[in-house]
Amino acid sequence: MPPRLKLFLPLILFAILALFLLRGLELDPKELPSALIDRPLPEFSLPALGEEKTLNRVSVTGKAALFNVWATWCVSCRVEHPYLQQLADNGVPIYGINYKDENAAALKWLDELGNPYLANIVDAQGTLGLDLGVYGAPETYLVDAQGVIRYRHVGVVDDRVWKTLLEPIYQQLLQGGSP
């Protein structure tokens, strides 16, 4: 290679980098699609919070429902709790996944703040969370009647999130369609 051409190498490398950066502008790094979208809820067998029974995949599926990952150590969970209660009062079925938490603290929380959940899966070791690819609490999954995950929301569920993102998909799931 002639010596002059070698001097163009930095320019070429920069051009490649710039193309990636240009592409990067169109991508949203905060969007975290779950690897499990349109895949069945993972198999599990875990205790129910405050009840003498074991929950598994079959016992929590059958109708479209929300699966909410929460913990007492999670401040944002406290923020979204009243809204979940409101949804539950309006008849939206919500299952809780009590993620890496202590049973006593979780029971006390539900006792004080109210219990919007049909049942709570105790995921003390975070194994179900690992299978789901939980990024951090709170997270909420929409699961259809066949037990297939249809949507994942990372962060707090509030009125805006519910109305614009979750409810349209939930309504479709209720009608048996897929989003």
Partner: protein, 660 residues
């Protein structure tokens, strides 16, 4: 009215920057002395107008002018005045104005302190800096105008500064960091001017060196403050996270470290010229790339600014013009003939070349790790996040590789040295360093191989430096005279290398020996950590100017001696309702004691409490301060100032212009 004056001044500044970018460069092209002579005056005018703009925005913040959008969204009437002022740069628009102000200050400083420069070079340098200013000022005016008003519905109060930023460290961290980032634009401008003129010589390196060293010093101090802030403010005792924004500041530092060493070789020996120019372009390009990453939203980070694709596109275009343009110029103009000045493999040149390779590889690995998530996403390979394990695995061995050669550096000679001389000079330091490594970690009680290695390397650096200093002051015959002979630039190197040694020890010791316990504690309880007894005395409710807090009052006892009273807080800021952890720290040269509050547990006043014992964590920041002082000290060297009388004659331009 005041914000409109600020806005107008910013527009005036842009006009002046445009003239500065075009007229003196044109003058240099066609040897028009009158056009070239305009450059220093234009640089001063530029600084004047940007300063007016900055003062107007500061005034809007201090006067709680909530009709200005950035004030309304980043300040609050309850905020203490000093934070009202620093809130100016706690947001994208204001920090961009600060950036522009610092850039113009550097430009004016070059105009002011460069009377020994040939006019031809000075006008090119200032023109390049004017061009960079055009980019940033138009970025500010076109996409992020800080003076945008919220009219007619003016909010009654502002929505407050992010509580994380309400902190003394954050008042000076961004200005220092920007001083460093932007300072590399001077080295960049000198490099471009040299390429334009086709004269890459020792004089060029001598002119850029003091500026580059000072910029590097500011960047060192800025990064250090950021790390220190993260340590005490985020509440879990971490001091470096390899977060994209931290990497954005660290990469220019790494490239800058290579640059200051490479400039030394170019000045002293006239070799590595093309390479040094490339590094100068590289260091400033990384500063711009950092700006792009922080402000465009291409990467997730805990402290990225609110982002906007239009801004991202603007910076990317700007980046393409500046970096693409300068690399094209480099490819066309850099000398291809290798220097006739040779050097043997056993020489200081080789050691500095090795320094350059290590720092360049380190920069590229950090760059690769930072951009990897973006690259994989762009190639539709899925979402990735690259965390500390990658960075530690590549970075730590590189630095460990560097240290043995770094100890040789000061003792070595340019051009040709001999291995037997190195051996005879450094055998004693080497043996002593190994002895230190074997014994000193025992003082801590628990022997740790990593600490032993770090102590050996740091000891090697220190003893090599001392040996060299001893040699330079004449081996102790006449110490006062000998010390007076030592130049500021040597002291600067000495301090900076010493600082690096302190960093090595601090980082390794605190990583290896730190202890922490997460506990549930109630008032009256006692817990033990690393030989200290932490007594939770009482819980209190306190009120600050714009927050209320729960305060846990602790006493730390060592045996029967009270070591410290610590009062960590859990604050709730009134304007936003956000919760903040305020850790309490008892600092010490050999250990920090650190208490932070988690969440309340139950009704009886019990809290989740985190206790830390952090040995030698201060050494890391102390080391960075040494590096900063060292970098600044080098610029006081007499040889950067004595050229004045001889080059005055050529400053009229004619004599020099014909040569160039």
């Amino acid at each position: 009215m005041i914000p409109e004056i600020g806005h107008f001044a910013l527009i005036m500044a842009l006009a002046l920057a445009l003239i500065l970018a075009i007229v003196p460069a044109w003058g240099a092209w066609c040897r028009n002395v009158a056009a070239m002579s305009l450059a220093p005056g234009l640089a001063m005018g530029l600084l004047f107008f940007v300063s007016i703009s900055f003062v107007c925005l500061a005034y809007a913040f201090l006067q709680d002018d909530f009709s200005v959008k950035v004030v309304a969204s980043n300040s609050n009437s309850l905020l203490p005045p000093v934070y009202k002022f620093s809130a100016l740069w706690g947001n994208h628009e204001g920090s961009l104005l600060l950036w522009a102000l610092i850039l113009c200050a550097w430009t004016a400083a070059v105009a002011l302190f460069s009377s020994q420069l040939p006019l031809l070079v000075l006008s090119r340098v200032l023109s390049v800096m004017g061009g960079v200013a055009v980019g940033f000022l138009s970025f500010s005016l076109l996409t992020s105008n800080p003076f945008e008003r919220l009219l007619p519905s003016i909010p009654s109060d502002g929505s407050d500064l992010n509580p994380l930023l309400q902190d003394p460290g954050l008042i000076i961290h961004p200005p220092l960091l920007y001083m460093g980032y932007v300072g590399f634009s001077v080295a960049f401008a000198f490099a471009i001017a040299a390429l334009l003129g086709g004269r890459l010589d020792a004089a060029w390196a001598r002119w850029s060196r003091p500026w580059t060293n000072v910029a590097w010093a500011f960047l060192s101090l800025g990064i250090m403050l950021g790390s220190w802030w993260a340590y005490y403010e985020l509440g879990w005792g971490g001091w470096w996270f390899w977060d994209p924004v931290e990497n954005a500041s660290f990469m220019p530092w790494l490239a800058g470290t290579a640059l200051i060493h490479s400039l030394a070789v170019t000045e002293k020996r006239g070799v590595f010229k093309s390479w040094t120019v490339l590094l100068a372009i590289f260091a400033f390009s990384l500063s711009l790339l950092g700006t792009f990453m922080v402000r465009s939203g291409v990467l997730t980070s805990v402290h990225a600014f609110a982002t906007d694709p239009a801004r991202g596109m603007f910076i990317l275009l700007f980046l393409a013009v500046v970096v693409g343009g300068s690399l094209t110029l480099y490819a066309l103009r850099a000398p291809t003939v290798s220097s006739r000045v040779g050097f043997s493999w056993v020489s200081r040149e080789s050691l500095l070349l090795l320094n350059n390779v290590v720092f360049l590889v380190a920069t590229l690995t950090v760059l690769f790790g930072t951009l990897f998530p973006l690259i994989m996403d762009a190639l539709a390979q899925g979402k990735y996040s690259v965390g500390p394990p990658y960075f530690n695995a590549v970075f730590v061995p590189l630095m460990a590789l560097l240290a043995p050669f770094m100890g040789l550096g000061p003792v070595s000679r340019f051009k040709r040295d001999t291995l037997p001389r190195w051996t005879s000079e450094l055998l004693v330091p080497a043996v002593a360093a190994i002895a230190c490594g074997l014994t000193l970690p025992l003082l801590h009680g628990e022997y740790n191989l990593w600490v032993a290695l770090a102590v050996t390397l740091a000891g090697w650096l220190l003893l090599g430096l001392l040996k060299d200093l001893w040699f330079r002051i004449g081996g102790g015959r006449d110490i006062p005279t000998g010390l007076r002979r030592i130049t500021p630039s040597y002291w600067g190197m000495f301090l900076a290398h010493l600082g690096f040694a302190a960093c090595v020890i601090g980082v390794v010791a605190t990583t290896q020996y730190s202890l922490e316990r997460d506990l549930k504690m109630s008032p009256g309880e006692r817990e033990e950590l690393a030989g200290y007894e932490y007594r939770f005395i009482e819980l209190a409710a306190v009120r600050g100017p714009n927050f209320v807090a729960d305060e846990a009052r602790f006493e730390v006892w060592s045996g029967s001696e009270l070591v410290a009273r610590l009062a960590p807080q859990k604050r709730r800021y009134l304007a936003t309702g956000s919760m903040m952890t305020e850790a309490a720290i008892d600092p010490g040269l050999f250990r920090d004691l650190y208490v932070a509050m988690g969440e309340p547990i139950g009704e009886e006043g019990a809290w989740a409490i985190r206790l830390h014992y952090k040995p030698m964590v201060r050494w890391m920041w102390l080391g960075a301060i040494f590096m900063g002082i060292g970098g600044i000290l080098t610029s006081f060297d007499k040889r950067y100032r004595t050229q004045r009388s001889t080059s005055r004659s050529s400053a009229t331009g004619a004599a020099h212009a014909t040569q160039a």
